[in-house]
Amino acid sequence: MAIIETVELRKVFRSIVRSPGIAGAVRALFSREYEEKVAVDSVTMTLAEGELVGYLGPNGAGKSTTIKMLTGILVPTSGAIKVAGVVPHRNRQANAANIGVVFGQRSQLYWDLPLRESFELLRSIYDVPRDRYRQNMAHFSEILGLDEFMGTPVRQLSLGERMRGDFAAALLHDPKIVYLDEPTIGLDVEAKEAIREFVGRINRERGTTVILTTHDLADVERLSKRIILIDEGTVIYDGTLARLRTEYGTHRTLVVTLAETYEEFAVEGGEIESREGNIVKLRFNQRRLSAETMIRRLLDRYSVSDIAIIEPEIESIVRRIYREGYNESAVGSPS
């Protein structure tokens, strides 16, 4: 069953063009020129209940504008939108009760007070029944280790601890949907792992639908099967990670350690990515050549002490798509 549904969602911002200088400022008093900026051009997507989706795109692609429309903060210019049966901007409060939001850069905890007090306030804002509150707190504390710093003023928490607190705060009222905006930004490896673990468990165990926007593709690789790529306000890819990887990751790389030093080095069908001393990185198109063929050709001519195969990284695939655009016809053709 679809829990989030948007059809040709569009958002256009109109802003005043300001000419520089005092003359410009004076002119702006009398006549105004407007500039239209299409933040979200056309976003159509459907999310089933319990899905965990990575919503990705370069800066300025329209990610956070989409999230703001889904959360009811912004009213769309055109298009349809429905979240858990509610039109967010028409029924903001009803929608708000269904959702939880974590802005990685902004905390909703009260700076000056022990963490516990923020939870108490949120309990009353979302009207969480007492016993449900206790259960949730116990559960979150167990996964996130909140007990250690429940009594510490938020301003004294480390970023990792604060983020854990923010996650618990966003999920306290059992929202059906959680929006995570850059949830792991600035965190160290351990804290990132704790957060990912938590998001994964909430999604699995409670069936909470999660939309995750992030720059750290490791978050996505670890958590979501499905990703939606957006660029210039339009969805350019919507599907599984695996499909993206096989369709778009046309090249694999062999890392070869040569046993002897060779003046010249070349293998048919392979492109030398880098060569440092005896270590050579050799890129080849896996649709044309199997790894086996490549290795056989290599071993025919050179003496090799070690070989490793590197799968295309999702990060480099996505970066390439941002750069070159997603193009169905490009898939499978040599590049």
């Binding site: 911002f13 109109r14 504008t65 703001k68 959360t71 009811g72 903060i73 912004l74 009213v75 901007h89 903001r92 409060q93 009803a94 708000a96 009760a97 959702i99 939001v101 802005f103 902004r106 909703q108 009260y110 000056d112 007070l113 007090e117 108490e120 306030l121 009353s124 804002i125 979302y126 009207d127 003023p153």
Partner: protein, 267 residues
């Protein structure tokens, strides 16, 4: 309603905890509050020692005039001071947080915890008691019934103005200049009887930013002063609660309008 009451209780709990957390800081600000009002009253006293009458008002009258304003102002600061932070929240992008929570936006603003404590209100009550006695205002049933209503109405007037200015921050990123002007009108112009001002300013303080209803009109009523500002009958001084309610409703409608615009345009 039940939810709102729960949130409001939590709000005060957090306020008091925060105040206790920063005890020294709180005491310093309380000292400042005393000095602020003390200096204003002292200035009135110094001037009226030398010039016994300002437009027919002596120091005793002026002390009562100030007391009425101080009480309404302190009540506003105790209940609604967070409204003044809206422009900053909008500028910093913190305002979005309010929109993703399932409660009325204005209620959430009012119930944003900070370091609020009813210290100024207590000070104002004490001062008002002294000033009432000193000015010789006759305490009768009318006084007992109407003063609380008038004080609350005055606080609503201040809330209304704050709300209107805050709503303007949805359009204009910087509204500091406007806030300053309004603060001056509210805090400094209310110290003197309305009759000394030019007609335009009298009308401004009565109909546009109705601060004259916070203290001048009610004080004229209780002190039996003829209103020489706009020639209203004395009973106008009892209208403050009505004016306050009407003004706040107007401001709330404007706020909702601005909010729709904020959601339509972003910022």
């Amino acid at each position: 309603m039940r939810v709102a009451a729960g949130v409001y209780r939590q709000y005060w709990r957090i306020n008091i905890l925060t105040t206790l957390e920063y005890r020294e800081n709180f005491l310093m600000w309380f000292a400042f509050t005393i000095v602020y009002h003390g200096a204003a009253i002292a200035a009135l006293w110094i001037v009226l020692e030398r010039f016994p009458s300002l437009n027919g008002w002596n120091f005793r009258d002026m002390a009562f005039l100030y007391g009425l304003w101080m009480l309404a102002h302190a009540l506003h600061n105790t209940l609604f001071s967070a409204v003044g932070d809206v422009p900053e929240h909008v500028r910093e992008g913190e305002f979005d947080r309010i929109l993703v929570r399932p409660l009325d936006s204005l209620f959430q603003i009012i119930a944003t915890p900070g370091q609020v404590f009813p210290d100024e209100l207590m000070l104002a009550l004490a001062y008002f008691g002294v000033a009432t006695w000193y000015s010789g205002v006759h305490i009768d049933a009318m006084f007992v019934i109407f003063v609380p209503l008038i004080v609350f109405g005055g606080a609503l007037i201040e809330l209304g103005i704050g709300l209107i200015v805050s709503t303007l921050s949805f359009w204009f990123v910087r509204v500091d200049a406007l806030i300053w002007i309004v603060v001056q009108l509210e805090q400094e112009f209310t110290r003197y009887p309305l009759g000394i001002y030019s007609r335009g300013v009298r009308l401004l303080l009565t109909f546009v930013c109705p601060f004259a209803f916070m203290n001048y009109f009610p004080a004229s009523y209780f002190l039996h002063k003829p209103d020489n500002a706009l020639g209203f009958p004395p009973i106008a001084g009892l209208l403050t609660p009505v004016i306050g309610c009407a003004f706040v409703i107007l401001a709330y409608v404007f706020w909702r309008f601005g909010l729709n615009r904020y959601q339509g345009v972003g910022h």
